[in-house]
């Protein structure tokens, strides 16, 4: 297990380095930038701005400086939101984004697993068809559209739930964002779960257990659940990164104060400092979370460790 963990950590490192390098050079070498306003700035002002943000140094020095400071947790200044450090903005947005993403992740995984089991047990009966429809909606309808439609239905016409915003602690405001974020994830998980559960239910050890007369409920929880969960667990890693990137959109649809809001604004304003910082941070976050999921997977399924 320890060997496996070391190997996984070592293989995640080059990915992190490449991601940082690629993002840095793409953004620095790109034409245009945050100082291209409607009017051209006087050359002297521009020169001062560039000097202030260390953009006048050779690009290699900028790169190594950036990486060195980043290791210490400093992602540099925002170039458009004056007086803000990127790390400050991240610190403000991160708790909310993590909370939203994690809530959606947990809700989606639980619902997906349960729905998949119900559909597998009632194969080709009405619960199965209901699930197929829900899965279809979740996978086909893009999240921004789903968000807008749910806002319109529950927020405006029925007035059951607030349509957006976050005033800290009003959990009703999280219902719609979590639904939009969790639906596609739950859909994919339930599809995986249904398939693997049907396969497991057809296997010999289940027949043996049933012939001993343990009853359906015990058979499901004691015998079938664990082996059927394996494909689901392997999807959790990619699923988590979909959820976290998906929260970018969901935050901007519902006007929630997470990292996503800053990222989109930064992209619109061409605030390269903030875009770079947010992207690098996101990549790191996703790598770390993927690593954790992989370790859980290896712990559940010992075969993985020896591949």
């Amino acid at each position: 297990m320890f060997n496996y963990a070391t190997r996984r950590v070592l293989s995640a490192l080059p990915i992190a380095i490449i991601a940082v390098t690629v993002c840095f050079f793409i953004l620095r070498l790109a034409p245009g930038g945050p100082f291209d306003g409607e009017r051209a700035l006087p050359p002297l002002v521009l020169q001062n701005l560039r000097a202030h943000y260390n953009l006048d140094q050779p690009i290699w020095i900028q790169y190594f400086n950036y990486v060195w400071r980043m290791i210490q947790g400093d992602f540099g200044p925002s170039m458009v939101m004056e007086g803000f450090e990127v790390s400050e903005l991240l610190a403000i947005g991160l708790p909310f984004t993590l909370m939203l993403g994690m809530t959606a992740f947990i809700v989606a995984t639980i619902i997906g697993v349960i729905a998949g089991i119900i559909a597998a047990v009632n194969q080709n009966k009405w619960p199965d068809y209901v699930l197929v429809l829900a899965v279809m909606l979740g996978v086909i309808v893009p999240n921004f559209l789903m968000g807008a439609l749910l806002q319109l239905l529950f927020g405006v016409y029925l007035r059951w739930l607030p349509a957006g915003g976050w005033s800290g602690g009003n959990w009703l405001q999280l219902v719609l964002p979590v639904t939009v974020l969790a639906w596609p994830h739950a859909a994919r998980i339930s599809r995986l779960m249904r398939g693997s559960m049907i396969e497991t239910l057809g296997s010999n050890f289940i027949r043996t257990a049933m012939s001993k007369g343990i009853g359906e409920r015990l058979m499901l929880t004691r015998h079938a659940l664990k082996p059927a969960l394996i494909p689901v667990v392997s999807y959790l890693g990619p699923g988590l990164s979909y959820l976290l990137t998906g929260s970018l959109v969901v935050e901007s649809i519902f006007g929630l104060p997470g990292i996503g809001k800053y990222f989109i604004q930064a992209a619109l304003n061409r605030d390269y400092g903030l875009v770079l910082g947010t992207t690098v941070f996101y990549v790191m976050l996703i790598l770390v979370l993927n690593l954790l999921v992989d370790l859980v997977y290896a712990w559940l399924d010992p075969r993985v460790r020896f591949r």
């Binding site: 034409p31 921004f144 992209a267």
Partner: protein, 306 residues
């Protein structure tokens, strides 16, 4: 004495039928696949619907009474109305929604088409080269794909769009260049198995160069999986494009796309619901049909998977 028993009349009729029957023909793989595809009702309906949407989007704009860029000062923010010719109503600027919708669907379809072609070309070439050469080249090339997979790719699309400055052409290419990863993987896997086959060995023995073998002997054999995956890429690209446009990073005014229309319609949906509902219906229908076609093609071309 031929006419008495009527035997020869029956025999002639029989001989004629036999003559009209064609010699028994073998069915090709493509014919088999077509048959299976036509038997799949959902896929067939989807093909008709998508064809209809494509035709209406490209031809329909010549028959609509209003132009998507023209402002009708007498009908601003008006619901659907058949008398004035605004069949789907007008937006806040008095532009005809139907005309705008046709224009937007056109744009989304063009982006999807171009980006899919880009992703197919890159993915097939990359995957075939990686699979054919194998060994260290393969390991290196696939490692790169793995790394790209691990990165949150929507962030990269956003970065690319920010850099490319929202030019539609670069938008197509940018999306296409990020969608080829899965294609490359599929193609590589297939190539790995094909390159051991006798026909490739024969070509090599005949002195064909690696490039010729890849292009003339391996790539044509990949048609099935490539077609299937390309059909599944189209809806994905439509989603990415409309997502970018929704964020305001994609197609810009006066051009429009389904995503731009939805993003303009969403904030005012409370008072002007038709501005959201019409493009939403087109988008969802298109995505649903395309995914049915993809699934249908997969079942038709690759029946062993069922």
């Amino acid at each position: 004495m031929a006419g008495i028993t009527g035997k020869d009349r029956t025999l002639t009729a029989y001989a004629d039928t036999l003559e009209r029957l064609d010699a028994p023909k073998g069915r090709s793989l493509t014919q088999d696949a077509m048959r299976r595809l036509i038997a799949n009702r959902a896929a067939l309906i989807s093909i008709f619907l998508v064809t209809a949407i494509v035709l209406i989007a490209f031809v329909g704009s010549y028959f609509v009474p209003w132009d998507g860029t023209k402002v009708d000062w007498g009908a601003i923010r008006k619901p659907p109305n058949f008398e004035s010719g605004h069949y789907l109503g007008t937006d806040q600027n008095g532009r005809d929604l139907l005309a705008r919708l046709l224009q937007g669907t056109q744009m989304s379809l063009i982006v999807a088409g171009v980006a899919t072609v880009v992703s197919v070309v890159v993915g097939v070439v990359y995957g075939a080269i990686s699979g054919y050469f194998g060994g260290r080249v393969d390991a290196l090339m696939m490692r790169f794909v793995d790394i790209m997979y691990a990165l949150p790719y929507i962030l990269f699309v956003i970065i690319l769009v920010v850099i490319f400055g929202r030019s539609p052409v670069l938008l197509f290419v940018g999306i296409g260049l990020l969608e080829w990863l899965t294609m490359a993987r599929i193609v590589r896997g297939q190539t790995l198995s094909f390159k051991e086959k006798e026909f490739v060995e024969a070509a090599r023995a005949g002195g064909a160069k690696p490039f010729t073998i890849i292009m003339r002997h391996i790539v044509p054999n990949l048609t099935g999986p490539v077609v299937i995956y390309a059909t599944l890429t189209v809806p994905e690209i439509i989603i990415v494009e409309s997502f970018l446009s929704y964020l305001g990073l994609g197609v810009q005014e006066p051009l429009t796309s389904l995503g731009t229309l939805i993003s303009n319609g969403a904030p005012v949906a409370e008072v002007l619901p038709w501005l959201l509902v019409a493009p939403a219906i087109v988008l969802v229908t298109l995505l649903l049909c395309l995914s049915y076609i993809g699934d249908g093609l997969r079942d038709a071309l690759d029946p062993k998977d069922r």
